[in-house]
Point group: C2
Chain length 208, copies 2
DNA sequence: ACGATTATTGTACCGTCGGTACGATTTGTT
DNA sequence: AACAAATCGTACCGACGGTACAATAATCGT
C-alpha cells in the first residue's frame, strides 16, 4: 500500500469514525452530512469525494460492525468451544454487539437485503461477511450434533438462521421495551435476555 | 356521536387510509405529506388540521394495526383454543399481519417505546393494546401449563414476551432475507417460518 | 333567512438537509 | 519551478416537513 493509499484509507477511516459516533449519539436521521464533515474535520466536498452518499457511509459502518461481530464470535468460540458454553458465548457476543451499535444491529433483521446490483460492492461485502458468520455458527451446531449434545429436526444451516433470528429478536425486544419488561415481569433486561437464551437452547436440546 | 363528530371521524379515517396505502406502496420515507393530501383528496392544510405531523399519522396507523392484530389473535384463539393448535394459530396470525403491514410490524421490536410524555395519547393507546395482546397470550399459556401441555421455567408473562420476540424475529428475518434463505437452505420463507415456529414450540414443551 | 362560527382550501413561504458545481487553495511529486 | 491531485469554501439546487394567512364554503343557532 503506497503512502497515498495509506493516507486515503486514513481519511476514510476518520470520516467513518466521526459518522459512527454521531449516529450513535444522535441517531442516523438526526445526523447531517454537515455534522459529519465538521466532526471529522474535513470539508463537505471531501466527504463526498470519499463517499457518494450518506447511505454509503451507513453501509460501510454496517460492514465494519459485521466484521467486528464475526471476529467476536470466532474469538469467543475459540476460548469456549464446548457445549453449552459456546452457545451462550455466541449469544453474549451478539448481545454486546448490540449495546455497542444498537442502530446498526437492526440491519440483521431488516434493512440490508441481497443486492441485485453487483455494483453495490459494500452491500455484497456485508452479505459475504454475514454468510461467513452463519458458516461459523453452522460449524458449531454440527459439532454439537455430532457429539449428541443437541438434536435438530432441520439442516444445521436452517437451524442456524432460525436461532439467529430468534436471538436477535429477543435482544432487540429486550433493549427497546426495557421499561415495559421491567414493569411487566420485574426483571432487568439482562436477566430477560439470559432467560430467553436458555429458553431457545431448550428448543434444540431434548432428544427426538 | 354527533353528526359533526361522525364527519370528523370519517375524514380522519380517509386520511389514514390514504396514508396507509401510500406507505405500503412506496415506503414511509418516500411518501410526502403532499402525496397523502392528494391521495386522500384533502388539502394539505386540512391534513395538518387533523394530524399535527407525519409521525402522528404513522403512530395512528400503528395503533390501528395493533388493534387488528389483537382482534385476529382473539378470533383465532376462539376457534382453535387447544394445544398446539392455538399456538400455531397465534403464529399464523402474526405472520399474516406482517404480510399485510410489513412496514409497521417492525414497531413490535423497536420504534414504539413507552411514552414518558402522557400527552402522547396515541403512544399510550398503542402501549395499552400491546398489553392486552400480551394478556391474551399469557392467558393461553396459563391454560397450557394447567393442562400440562407445556412446561415453563419462568412466569407465563415473561415466557409470553420471549416467545413474542422470538416469533417476531423469525417472521421479520424470513421476509427480509427471503432470497438468502432460499439460496442457503433451499426452502421457501413460509416453510422456514413454519419450521421456526415448531422449533420455538419445543422450547416450551419437553418436561423439566 | 341571516349573521356568526367553524371547517376547508389554495397558495405562498420558511428552514433544513442531501447533494452538486466550481473556482480557489493547498499539498505532493519530479 | 511547474504540474497534477487532493482539499477546501461557498454558493446553490430541489425536495420535503411544516406554517401562515387570507379567502371561501359549510354549518348552526336563533
Amino acid at each position: 500500500m503506497s503512502k497515498k493509499e495509506r493516507l486515503s484509507a486514513f481519511n476514510r477511516s476518520n470520516i467513518l469514525s466521526a459518522a459512527k459516533q454521531l449516529f450513535f449519539e444522535k441517531g442516523i436521521a438526526q445526523t447531517t452530512m454537515d455534522d459529519i464533515s465538521k466532526e471529522a474535520d474535513y470539508s463537505k466536498s471531501t466527504v463526498y469525494a470519499y463517499f457518494k452518499s450518506k447511505e454509503e457511509i451507513y453501509n460501510h459502518i454496517i460492514l465494519e460492525n459485521f466484521e467486528i461481530l464475526k471476529n467476536d464470535i470466532c474469538e469467543v468460540l475459540r476460548s469456549k468451544p464446548g457445549f453449552p458454553d459456546g452457545y451462550f458465548a455466541i449469544c453474549n457476543a451478539l448481545m454486546e454487539n448490540y449495546s455497542a451499535s444498537p442502530l446498526f444491529f437492526e440491519s440483521i433483521l431488516s434493512g440490508i437485503k441481497i443486492p441485485d446490483d453487483e455494483s453495490e460492492t459494500v452491500l455484497v461485502q456485508i452479505y459475504e461477511v454475514g454468510d461467513e458468520i452463519n458458516g461459523v455458527i453452522e460449524h458449531y451446531l454440527n459439532y454439537c450434533v455430532e457429539n449428541k449434545y443437541i438434536n435438530l429436526d432441520m439442516p444445521p444451516l436452517q437451524a442456524t438462521l432460525t436461532l439467529w433470528a430468534g436471538i436477535t429478536g429477543i435482544i432487540m425486544f429486550a433493549h427497546n421495551k426495557n421499561a415495559y419488561i421491567g414493569m411487566a415481569t420485574g426483571t432487568t433486561k439482562e436477566c430477560f435476555m439470559q432467560n430467553g437464551f436458555r429458553l431457545l437452547l431448550k428448543s434444540i436440546m431434548g432428544g427426538k
